[in-house]
C-alpha cells in the first residue's frame, strides 16, 4: 500500500512536470506575443508554432487534475474548494486563451481583443500556478475535517507571491527559448534579447525564494535531496544561459526544460510525503492519510502503466512532424 501511495505521489509529480515543460513554453509564448511579434504575420508565425501542440499540452493538466482526484480525493477536494476564487480566475483565463488563437485567426475585426485575450489568458494562470503551489508548500490553515480555513487573502502571503513570480519567470524564460527554436529573423532576435534578460532575473528570484523557503518552511533545510535539486536548477540555468548566448537553440530548449523538471523535483523533495502542508502540522495532508483505496490505486497504476507510454510515444511522433522553423505557406492566411 505504501509503495502504491509513493508511486502515485511520483506519478502526479510526473504529470505536473509534463504540464510544466510542455504547456510552459506555449504559455510563455502567449504572454510574450506583443514583445516578440510586431506585425500580424509575425503573430501568425508564433501562433502557428504553438497551434498544433498547445491543446495536447494542456491535457497534462487535465490528466494531472484527474489523477489527483482519483489518487488523493481529499486533497483535490480541499485545494479546489479552498482556492475557489483563484481557480476561477485560472479557468476564465484558460477559456479565453483556448479560443483566442482560433478566434484571432478568423475574427479579423477584433484581432486586438483576441491577441490581448491570448496574452492575459496566458499570464494569469502562469502567475497563479506558482502562487497555489507556494501555498501548499508553505502551509495553509485547515479545519479538523481538512477543509480550508482561510480566505482569498490567505493565499497572498510573501512566500506564495514569490513562488508565483518564480513560476512566471520560469515560464517566460522557457517560452522565449522555445521562440528562439521555432522562429527566424526579427522574431528570433527579439526572443534572444528577452531570453537574455529573463535569464538574468531568474537566479535572483530563485535564490530569494530558496532563502525565504528555507526560513519559513518546516523542516525544509534538512532535506538533502532538495539541496541537490537547488544545485541542479542553478546548473541547468547556467547551461541554458550559455546555450542562448552561443545560439545553440536545441540545447537551450533542452536545458530550459531541465530547469522546469528540476524545479518540480525540488517541490517534490520539499513536500514528500506531504501533499498539502497545514499551518498546524498535525493536519498535514500526506500521501498516507489522504489516498484512495489500494484497489483504486492499483487499477489506476495499470491504467497509467498501459496508457502513458503510448501517450509519450505518439506525442514524440507528432512533435517530430512539426519539427523545424515555422514558415508561412504561400497564399496562406486570413
Amino acid at each position: 500500500m505504501e509503495f502504491l501511495q509513493i508511486i502515485w505521489f511520483v506519478l502526479i509529480i510526473v504529470l505536473l512536470t509534463g504540464y510544466s515543460v510542455l504547456d510552459g513554453f506555449d504559455l510563455g509564448v502567449g504572454i510574450l506575443t506583443p514583445v516578440l511579434a510586431k506585425t500580424d504575420d509575425e503573430k501568425r508565425i508564433l501562433f502557428n508554432a504553438i497551434g498544433p501542440v498547445w491543446d495536447g499540452n494542456e491535457v497534462w493538466l487535465l490528466t494531472g487534475g484527474g489523477a489527483l482526484f482519483a489518487a488523493f480525493p481529499p486533497v483535490y477536494a480541499t485545494v479546489f474548494s479552498g482556492f475557489y476564487l483563484a481557480l476561477m480566475l485560472v479557468l476564465f483565463s484558460l477559456i479565453f486563451r483556448a479560443v483566442s488563437f482560433e478566434y484571432w485567426a478568423h475574427d479579423v475585426k477584433f484581432r486586438k481583443f483576441w491577441c490581448r485575450a491570448a496574452v492575459v489568458g496566458s499570464f494569469i494562470p502562469s502567475l497563479l500556478y506558482g502562487v497555489a503551489l507556494g501555498n501548499v508548500i508553505l502551509g495553509i490553515p485547515l479545519k479538523n475535517n481538512f477543509d480550508f480555513a482561510g480566505n482569498f487573502f490567505t493565499l497572498l502571503r510573501p512566500f506564495p507571491l514569490l513562488t508565483g513570480i518564480l513560476g512566471l519567470v520560469m515560464i517566460l524564460m522557457h517560452g522565449s527559448v522555445f521562440a528562439i527554436l521555432k522562429t527566424e529573423g526579427d522574431i528570433k532576435n527579439r526572443a534572444i534579447n528577452i531570453a537574455k534578460k529573463l535569464l538574468m532575473i531568474f537566479p535572483v528570484v530563485f535564490i530569494l525564494t530558496v532563502i525565504l523557503g528555507a526560513i519559513q518552511i518546516q523542516g525544509a533545510t534538512s532535506k538533502i535531496v532538495a539541496w541537490i535539486f537547488v544545485v541542479l536548477i542553478l546548473g541547468f540555468w547556467f547551461y541554458t544561459k550559455k546555450a542562448v548566448e552561443s545560439q545553440e537553440e536545441g540545447k537551450a530548449f533542452t536545458f530550459s526544460s531541465l530547469v522546469n523538471v528540476s524545479i518540480m523535483g525540488l517541490i517534490a523533495a520539499v513536500q514528500f510525503p506531504v501533499l498539502v502542508r497545514a499551518t498546524n502540522p498535525e493536519l498535514n495532508m500526506t500521501i498516507f492519510n489522504s489516498s484512495s483505496s489500494k484497489l483504486t490505486l492499483t487499477v489506476m497504476l495499470i491504467i497509467a502503466g498501459i496508457g502513458m507510454p503510448i501517450v509519450i510515444g505518439y506525442t514524440i511522433y507528432v512533435y517530430r512532424i512539426f519539427k523545424g522553423k515555422v514558415k508561412l505557406q504561400e497564399g496562406e492566411g486570413y
Partner: protein, 440 residues
Amino acid sequence: MDTVLLARIQFALTIGFHFLFPPTTLGLSFIIVIIEGMYLKTGKELYKKISSLLIKLLGLVFVIGTATGIVMEFSFGNNWAEYSKMVGDIFGAPLAAEGVFAFFLESVFLGVLVFARNRVSKKAYWWSSFFVFFGSHLSGLWIIIANSWMQTPAGYKIVNGKAVLTDFWAAALNPSTIDRYVHVILSAWITGSIVAAAIASYYLLKGIFKEYAKKLLTISVIIFAVVSMLQLVSGHSSANVVYKNQPAKLAAFEGLWETKRNAPLSLFGIPVEKDKKTYFEIGIPGLLSYLVSWDTNTEVKGLNEFGEDIPPVFITYATYHTMIALGTLFILIGLIGLWLLFKKVLWEKKWYHILLIITTPLVYVAVQTGWMAAEIGRQPWIVYGVMKTSKAISNVVPAGQIIFSLIMFILIYILLFVVFLKLFFKIVKKGPDSAEVQGY
C-alpha cells in the same frame, strides 16, 4: 440565496453549454473519418476538400469543448467537495483514465489534422483522423462510465461514510453504462450528420459549391436517417434500464403517480407535484407495462411509492417528452430523406433543404433535454440511493463567490457563443475550396 441551488445552477449551465460541443465533435469526427477513408480509397480531390472544411469546423468546435471541459473537471472539487471526498475513490479514476486513454489521443492528433496535411503521408493522415474519431469516442465512454455510476452505482461498499471501490469492472460496466453510452454516441452521430446536412443544404439553396454539397448531403442524410432509427431501439433499451434500476425516475418520466398494472404510456400531460396528479393526460393504456416487459400485466411503480425522494416531476416529464417527440420527428425527417434519395430528387427539393436547416437546432434541443431528463430525473440524489445532492457541495465556498463565478461564466459563455457562431458561419461561407489552407 441557497448555496446548493446556486452550485446546481452553475453546474447545469456550465455542463449544458459544454455539451453543445462534444456531440458535435464526435459526430463530425465520425463523418470525417468516413470521408477521409473515401479520399484515401479513391484519391478524389472532392473528398479531400469536403473533409478539409469539416476539419476546420472541428478545430473550432474542439477548442471550445476543451476550454469548457476543463471547467467541468475542476467543478467537482470547486463546488462539490463533499461529493469528491465521498466518491473520489471511484469517480476520479474514469476522469483520469479519460485523460490518459482518450483526451491525449484526440488532442494530439487533432493537431495533425488541422495543421499537417502536407507534412504527413495520406495514410498517416487517415490514421490521424481515425485517432481523433477513436479518441473522442473513447473519451465519451469514460465520461459516461463516471456519470452512469452516479445513476446506477455498483462495485463499491460504504466504509466510514465513503464509497470504496470493491470491483472495478462492476463499477465501470455498471447496469446503465452500455445502454447510456450507445444512446449518447448515437445522439452525437445524429448531431454531426444534421450539422453536415445543414451545411450541404445551405450550399444547395445558395447554388454554391454544388458538387461538394451533393456528396455531403447524400452521406449525411443516410447517416441521419439510419442512426435516428437505431436511436429508437437504443432509447427503448435505455428506458428499460431506468425501469429496472431507477423506478422513481421512470415514474417521473411518465408522470405516473399510482403504482399500476396495465400502466399507460403517456403521450401528453401536465404533472402537478402539489396535487400529486397529472392533468389532461393522454396515454396509450397498457403500453408502458408492455414496453418494459412485453406484458401489459406488469406492475409499474408510481411516484407515490417513494415519499419525499422523487425528482421535480414536471420538468423531468417535460424534458423527457420533448426528447421523445423530437426523436420521433427525426425518424420521420430521415425517412423522407431516404425516400427523396431513392427517387433521385434529394438534391433538388428546396423545401427539404430548408427543413434540414430548421431541424439542426432541434437536434441540440433533443440532446440537451435528454440529458436534463436523465440528470434531473436522478434527483434528489447525486449518486442514486447513496448520496443526496444537498449534502454534496463545498462547505467552504460562500454563496457570494458562487454568484460571482456564475455571472462570469454566463457573460464569458455568451461572448464565446456569439463569436463561435459568427466564425462557424464564416468558415462555412468561405467553403471547401479555401479550407484547404491549414494553420492560423
